[in-house]
Symmetry: C2
Subunit: 428 residues, 2 copies
């Protein structure tokens, strides 16, 4: 039979699978990369979504792609782990969206339109919705008049980058390790190593020359180490901020899940602190909401930068979140998530402790990630975790990794534990 | 009676009014400035909102503050117009929020949570929600793979400012007059005068030196002039963009309300066009949504700038708007608004034409503003319109003004016409 003839008798889904496989071999989609959605291919091949789904199934069985639960289909690395064609995401440090009480969310949105009618869609001030500002001021114990609502913590960093635009690279100190998004935004170059207490003061002092204007810091539930600064170190840094007149960017990553609340920089040196709080990190990634607390000297400048960035953050979302706090739902959500974190951390630590080559540093970590060092090389390419090298240029962190454990549903967490155990046994 | 004694017998609302009046005399709130809300003062004075409302009423009767409908209370200029203590807002170029079909909006939000459950809150790709991208691609006839969803047109400009950060001031040409938000963001310095056909080509040519990389343009329903470029001028500029290799920033301000659709720069020279579309401008200011169409050469850079700015635009709002388009509601809304624009423009032109010292330039304007020149000095300080000097540094535009007429409800529009007539008679 001729090639053409055989092709014509092939099932459409097999042709589609072959086409996608060819694109992968040609390098259009690379190992570890997400391939477009079923919907996308259905439109490309002008066929039913079910047909593309069948093609994806075939590719999965052939070990060409794999499914990351809740994320999509990825080109599989040549090196295989497991046999289900699925991997579990311990990379993403957001909370699984299914834990967010969407029925309460739905009720609030509905209520907003009933009570406020078209006013629900009215524009808000650049600085944010007054109701949300009041609610956050009470909940987070920060002065309402210093709050600016932003579209997520990343925007807060971006506004600061705008304010200090010129030569910022040489004007800002970072912790080492630190948040990769800050490294790339600020093109970070100057680092202060962390120890068990926080940033090392001797290193901080040696780098505090006259050009330093900013210190980017995650003092409560640090990312990725999960540590919180000791009160002594926090006070020492506060004194230095006052003396050398630099600003501390206090990125409050996850203090809601810290074991005990400690005074923050915004409490100790409010004049020198730019406080940034992500509200997506404690709720769902899709919320895209956060706030800043800005000292009076910088307030107007930050507000202007916010205005030129996007006029104001979405008002409806702000109104929603104000009510979500007022009704106590946010606080209930934090409490429920806190319990899950405790349970899951215990399970994960038990697993990590069963491997002699791994160390998660005295169980003093907080938040929903674990920062783990390994005595063996972590030379697998399709690791489901984030590697140390993403958080630090220091080669000592090359065999560290961060496991974030709240982005999986309860079922997937259980399966994910088995999956992790399999990978770790392979490395052992 | 002693001063103290008399104070004690005063009513609380009178004390509050006196306190606010004292703040105004002391310059804490300046003429034309909005004073904080009733709610704010209620919390400051620890009293009932009704009490503050009474204080505001007293201040209004005393001619100290005035109410801008739908906006708040403002410190009144010493120079008074009218007697009601109210002025009407012909400044704001957004559509009155009450015209937006909030019941349909409510139904869609509700439906989203019913159908997608917690998935409604899932995060989206940096480039935007696929469903919205598809819907916009179809509706606006632009390639889906070039679309990036943004949080309003201002963010689009901001992303471009980031891309061309260094020396952008000398790399970008502007129309004269042009949008004030662009002037301040880009610190505009180089302008090309507009005539009835669009930017003057002789001026454009004389300014197209080697450093020019961008031309910021509003070719359809230009802000503030309400003109659209002639096809001949558009083609001439397209040729120059190709030849001199600069990018046209095509800010599509309100082409939905143009009398006839003309080929856009994105159609004529897609390789050299960065198209920006505000979706708030055609719906409600509070939507904070828009999109860009970016040529392949710049796409990844713009996407990265978007990521470092705010990760992604709010997913729920994007999902809402995708459905709003899919159900045809957006198109219905545009049609309904289009009719209102036609009616109101006619009424306003009739008013303007009744004054010999005013000219609105042959009725060729489109969109929901009127750009009017005056033979008399416009020396009133509390004008309800935007002055020519906000759109241009050219002294010839000093006695121009822009009347935006869609930010008022139907009732307020009628009252606003009388109010305008009163001011114009005063100037005549």
């Amino acid at each position: 039979m001729s090639r053409t003839g055989s092709r014509q008798t092939d099932h459409l889904y097999q042709k589609i699978a072959a086409d996608i496989a060819a694109r992968i071999s040609a390098g259009q989609y690379k190992p570890g990369q997400r391939i477009p959605s079923i919907r996308h291919f259905a439109s490309v091949f002008r066929c039913n979504k079910l047909t593309v789904q069948k093609a994806f199934g075939l590719l999965r069985r052939q070990g060409i792609i794999e499914n990351i639960v809740g994320s999509g289909s990825y080109v599989r690395y040549p090196h295989k782990i497991g046999s289900t064609g699925e991997i579990f995401d311990f990379k993403t440090d957001y909370i699984e969206v299914g834990f967010f009480p969407y029925r309460q969310v739905q009720a609030i949105y509905n209520d907003l339109f009933v009570k406020e009618k078209s006013g629900a869609l009215a524009p808000v001030d650049v600085k944010g919705e007054p109701g949300l500002i009041r609610a956050l001021s009470r909940l987070y114990h920060v002065p309402a008049e210093s709050i600016i609502i932003i579209s997520g913590a990343q925007q807060g960093l971006d506004l600061i980058a705008k304010l200090f635009a010129f030569k910022i690279t040489d004007a800002i100190l970072f912790e080492d390790p630190t948040y990769p998004g800050a490294i790339s935004l600020f093109k970070a170059r100057h680092f202060v190593a962390m120890d068990g207490q926080g940033p090392r003061l001797d290193q901080l002092d040696s780098k505090l020359h006259s050009r330093i204007q900013l210190f980017y810091s995650m003092p409560a539930v640090h990312n990725p180490t999960g540590q919180s600064y000791s009160p002594r170190v926090k006070e020492a840094i506060s004194r230095r901020a006052r003396k050398h007149d630099f600003y501390i960017i206090e990125d409050d990553y996850l203090s809601e899940f810290a074991r005990q609340p400690l005074p923050r920089f915004i409490d100790l040196v409010p004049e020198n602190t730019i406080y940034i709080k992500s509200l997506s990190q404690t709720t769902v990634a899709g919320l895209r909401l956060g706030f800043m607390v800005v000292p009076p000297k910088l307030y107007d400048k930050v507000l202007y930068a916010k205005f030129t960035s996007d006029i104001a953050s979405n008002g409806l979302v702000q109104k929603f979140f104000a009510r979500f706090i007022e009704k106590g739902y946010y606080q209930q959500h934090l409490a429920a998530i806190g319990k899950k974190i405790t349970y899951r951390r215990k399970r994960l630590i038990r697993l990590i402790d069963s491997f002699d080559f791994l160390d998660c540093h005295g169980h003093s970590q907080q938040g929903y990630s674990l920062w783990i060092s390994s005595k063996r090389k972590l030379d697998i390419t399709n690791a489901p975790w984030r590697r140390g090298s993403e958080f630090s240029f220091d080669p000592n962190y090359r065999d560290y990794f961060r496991l974030s454990f709240m982005h999986l549903s309860d079922d997937h967490f259980e399966q994910g534990l088995d999956y992790l155990a399999k990978i770790l046994r392979y490395l052992d």
